[in-house]
């Protein structure tokens, strides 16, 4: 390679870099960009839709109260659809971080997808708040990952205690989704807690999300004649499984976790779900005024009832707004580092670090899903409610405290 070619190449590189820098720099006015990702489409689409609407509602209140500004910066939320696929979750979170230059991320509901995207946020040093992923490994990814809900060791215990002490059953069959971290984890924690309480798991069967026919597994379960079935899956499969179980003549109640929480659960499962129970983050018939006000404004805005997933997303957004406000008050200079024009500069990382520290110290935040205090593992400790399905309606049954 001759000197002149090298020179020319070098020059071309410099020009390219300059063009790139120009392209990144000029965003006009400063704003505070927050990323949100979820499954707006796909097998469990209501998870992502509820999350998006919960965040939108919180943003709407911010606009109504303070023109949508925190510390003088206008807040903008960018929502991305991961189609319910973990690999797509990684892609959209990378897009949020690199292209939209967000200062914090809210998402996902499904633990598998949170687990896929969390390392990306951790490495970039951008706080990620999962509203409703309950698998304990999600926040173990690193110190920038938070959640607004309880974790599965607790949720498994809740349903084990409910089965043993409220339903008085001793023989339970488990049917779990083998490709789903949430389902596998919850099944394991339930088994541990339930055997400690003196019960026994008579059989453990498995399926994969997307299957249509579950009769083979249910026939095996029927042969073992359990008193209840624990089904820690997502609502789509739960509805289909419940139907097929009843068709095979299985009358035992089916128990599940917060993966059942969707407006579509009863649409799919129909009558087959009557007499079943699942653990959840809130009960819509709880008279708590904060919750009722949230449900009312959600309905006024979106024309439908909110599920707990929407409530958790609303809380996640408000915890994030509160932390941003605190940062703007305590340290306005560092706070400016979160502005969109500061993305990629040296000012961004310390600002995100400060924001992380403030989120981590969230204590006694009055959320619609309960009082949120983050522990040293960045998990919220909250009571769980058990909902019963009777006559095609979800009704509050009992509360189980940690």
């Amino acid at each position: 390679m001759s000197l002149s070619t090298r020179l020319r190449l070098g020059l071309a590189g410099v020009i390219a870099l300059a063009v790139l820098a120009l392209g990144c720099g000029g965003t006009g006015t400063d704003e505070l960009v927050i990323g949100e990702y979820g499954s707006l489409t796909g097998n469990d689409a209501t998870f992502g839709q509820s999350t998006k609407q919960g965040v939108e509602l919180a943003l709407g209140e911010l606009v109504a109260q303070r023109q949508g500004r925190i510390g003088g910066l206008k807040v903008r939320v960018v929502s991305e659809d991961d189609q319910g696929r973990p690999e797509e979750a990684v892609t959209v979170v990378k897009k949020l971080l690199n292209q939209d230059r967000v200062c914090a991320v809210i998402g996902e509901v499904a633990s598998s997808r949170s687990l896929a995207a969390a390392p990306v946020c951790q490495e970039a040093g951008v706080p990620m708040i999962s509203p409703s992923s309950t698998n304990p490994r999600v926040t173990q990814v690193g110190d920038y990952i938070f959640r607004m809900c309880f974790i599965d060791p607790f949720q498994g215990t809740v349903m084990a205690r409910f089965a043993a002490q409220d339903l008085h059953v001793r023989r339970v069959a488990i049917l779990k989704d083998v490709k789903n971290d949430y389902s596998v984890g919850l099944a394991q924690f339930f088994t541990e807690a339930f055997t400690n309480l003196g019960g026994s798991v008579v059989t453990e069967q498995a399926y994969s999300a997307g299957d249509q026919d579950f009769r083979a597994q249910l026939t095996n379960i029927k042969g073992k004649n359990p008193e209840a079935i624990f089904l820690p899956g997502y609502y789509t499969e739960v509805g289909l499984i419940a139907r097929q179980a009843r068709e095979l003549g299985i009358r035992a109640p089916i128990l599940g976790g917060d993966g059942w929480e969707s407006e579509q659960l009863l649409e799919i499962g129909g009558e087959a779900l009557n007499g079943c129970y699942y653990s959840n983050h809130f009960a819509a018939d709880n008279p708590d005024p904060r919750l009722q006000e949230f449900l009312k404004s959600y309905k006024a805005r979106f024309g439908k009832e909110s599920d707990a997933i929407g409530g958790l997303a609303y809380d996640a957004a408000r915890v994030l707004f509160q932390s941003l406000e605190k940062l703007a008050e305590q340290d306005p200079d560092t706070f400016r580092g979160l502005a969109s024009s500061k993305a990629g500069t040296a000012a961004r990382r310390p600002a995100d670090k400060k924001l992380r520290d403030l989120i981590a110290t969230t204590t006694n935040f009055a959320g619609v899903t309960g009082i949120i205090t983050l522990d040293e593992n960045r998990n919220a400790t909250k009571p769980a409610v058990v909902l019963a399905i009777r006559d095609g309606k979800k009704v509050y049954d009992t509360t189980i405290n940690p």
């Binding site: 489409t41 498995a206 029927k222």
Partner: protein, 336 residues
Amino acid sequence: MSEFLQQLVNGVTWGSVYALIALGYTMVYGILRLINFAHGDIYMLGAFFGFYAPGLIVAAGARAGEWLEGAHRVLHGVPVLGPGLGRLAAALSAAGSMADALQALLVLVIAMVGCGLLGIVIERGAYKPVRRSSRLAALITAIGVSLLLENGGVLVFGPDPKFFPQIIPSSNIALGGGVTISNQQVIILTVSILLMFALRFIVTRTRVGKAMQAVSHSHMAASLMGISVDRIITFTFVLGSMLAAAAGVLVALQNPKIEPYMGVMPGLKAFVAAVLGGIGNIPGAVLGGLVMGVAEVLVVGYVSPTYRDAIAFVLLIIILLVRPAGILGKAQAEKV
């Protein structure tokens, strides 16, 4: 024992769906030597047509009712015709609340007709232009059509799952010995068997069926005998697509979740079923479908559910090694 019998019942019902789809593969292959990879997506479209059909029935009923009502008003003066039209209008307006079974049948027919028409469009639009090219060109066209239907489905119907209305409420029928079958499984089995017999009748007893057989032997000889080969090929596509549509509606009646990619796996497995039974052979497709359904259910029931999709391809490998022509297929020397 009763558990095993129950698994067999599950397997046979599930297999009869594969059999219906496999029939389409095998017929098209018999006539054209083409693997129609878009066939699984026709099955998906059948389910979606069925999904939108009840709305269509009600709307059409109401529209016809209104129109007749108008005509009734105009013709009020005419003594006999007026009141008669009025009664007809009322009957048509009530079409939405007609009996479950009748509505299910109408849904099935609408889906089958819709997919039959689609079969014509696909054959005329995509396969006919490449019929004289190499077989590889046709095969790649088939994959293209399949992708087009799937992604077109995402565009038109949306990517999230829809839930098929419960036209026929499910109920249990005890078969004794702890074995049960649901009324929907009975419907799947009965309709499948009826359709298979209808197909057999068409192929062996009617002129057009005999023409199909002739075309499958030799296009050239058939056309020399005065058979319109193009028309027979189109007819074959119509028949195959209608059977796939029926399978789609039947499955959706039982498992109400439908989405644009639902045809991919059943399509592949039905293709394996057709090869298993001997591709090009109609009873072979039925047998292959049943073997496939039973094998799948037994693997899930007694081995591991993770092998559910693997078993199809294990069966394919075994049959290709042991008896490449398929269970009922006749070995043919291929001219090279």
